[in-house]
Amino acid sequence: MKYIDEFRDGAVARTLSAKIAAQLQPARHYSFMEFCGGHTHAISRYGLSDLLPSNLRMVHGPGCPVCVLPIGRIDMAIGLALDHGVILCTYADTLRVPASGGLSLMKARARGGDVRMVYATQDALHIARSNPGREVVFFAIGFETTTPATALAVLTAQREGLTNFSVLCCHVLTPPAMQQILASPELQSGGVQIDGFVGPAHVSTVIGSEPYQVFARQFHKPVVIAGFEPLDVLQAVWMLVRQVNDGRAEVENEFSRAVEPQGNHKAQACMAEVFALRDSFEWRGLGVLAHSALKIRETYAALDAERRFQLEYQPVPDHKACECAAVLRGVRRPQDCAIFGNVCTPDNPVGSCMVSSEGACAAHYSYGRHQEGVA
């Protein structure tokens, strides 16, 4: 498949691996955070950690929107299905996340809640058009990659006069989360080392490379935006090593075939039209962050499920044994969690990081744990 296969070439991967090794200063330790869950997944799936020298470590970041969504938000979606009798449309990733009362969206469906998996917002709109007598709510999660699609759904519903459609908006933003990682106590105290970031691929097609400048200029951390294929990630790591060695902190774009500095103007315009910044929003792992998430603007209040159904967010703590919060901040690895792989597995997940295909725990369970103990 074009634009995929050539970026997965094994021989080139070994060349890149040698290239990185040649650049490393032997006495130095390098530590880079791959922010995005898609990169965590790629690193695990293609065994990239095996191709990196032992003094270079990849730290998993919180860029998995399902993983950072707190239980309280899933509870709101479940409540809409079970208590308000709506048709609750959701992307597949959220279905098995454990929430309050031993429930998940999947289990709510088993109890009679009308929970439907959709691939795209267009499907949710179609359901609304086909069921004029029912309330239809789209559970909108995701970073900036999925936000434009939700914005278009709101605009389309308003234009068509779809009065039975609304959106439960849980969209979150990438730069504030990256900033919070850098402000974390563990980083300040030296418990965790982050020398730079591998920047998200598809978020960057939307927001461009400009929003990461603050990390280079103010925090003196290099950022290299990378595509999702294994060769992209290796090349980006090499570019980060070079920056660190040179003492530079710049925003570089390895994913130049799809990301432009200014991003996607149309997508940004749609998002600005429909959404405003929430004053604060609770994230799993990062706490309550200011101006880090989106809500639907007053103009489109009729399409805002929170207002329509008078929903109030109730914070709910994670399961006591679940270490997702620490894993999301990069301060613990999945295998450090006491319940990883024994109680908490993809079949029986306790926390969100094991459920989502981009979660660090799911990635390590599927691809990484077989490597433990192998020299």
Partner: protein, 76 residues
């Protein structure tokens, strides 16, 4: 969630607003929205995510990136 795919545009101008397209990924065809992009032509590759094309893949940049993989960065 963030898994988006590069897909080839094989038909444009579809759908009631004319902003839908038929794309092909390894033989599987799907109708998707081009509402977030301008100037996409048949034969272009786009990044598809959850029903929407987010970005057009630049073939020259792709080639440059592939060449950069073997660049050891030993500037004179």
């Amino acid at each position: 969630m963030c898994l988006a795919m590069p897909v080839k545009v094989i038909q444009i101008g579809l759908g009631p607003a004319g902003d839908a397209a038929l794309v092909d990924l390894g033989g599987v065809q799907k109708e998707i929205s081009l509402a977030l992009l301008d100037g996409i032509e048949v034969g272009d590759y786009v990044i598809l995510h959850a029903g929407y094309a987010l970005s057009r893949l630049d073939p020259e940049e792709a080639q440059r990136t592939l060449e950069a993989f073997s660049d050891l960065g030993c500037a004179p």
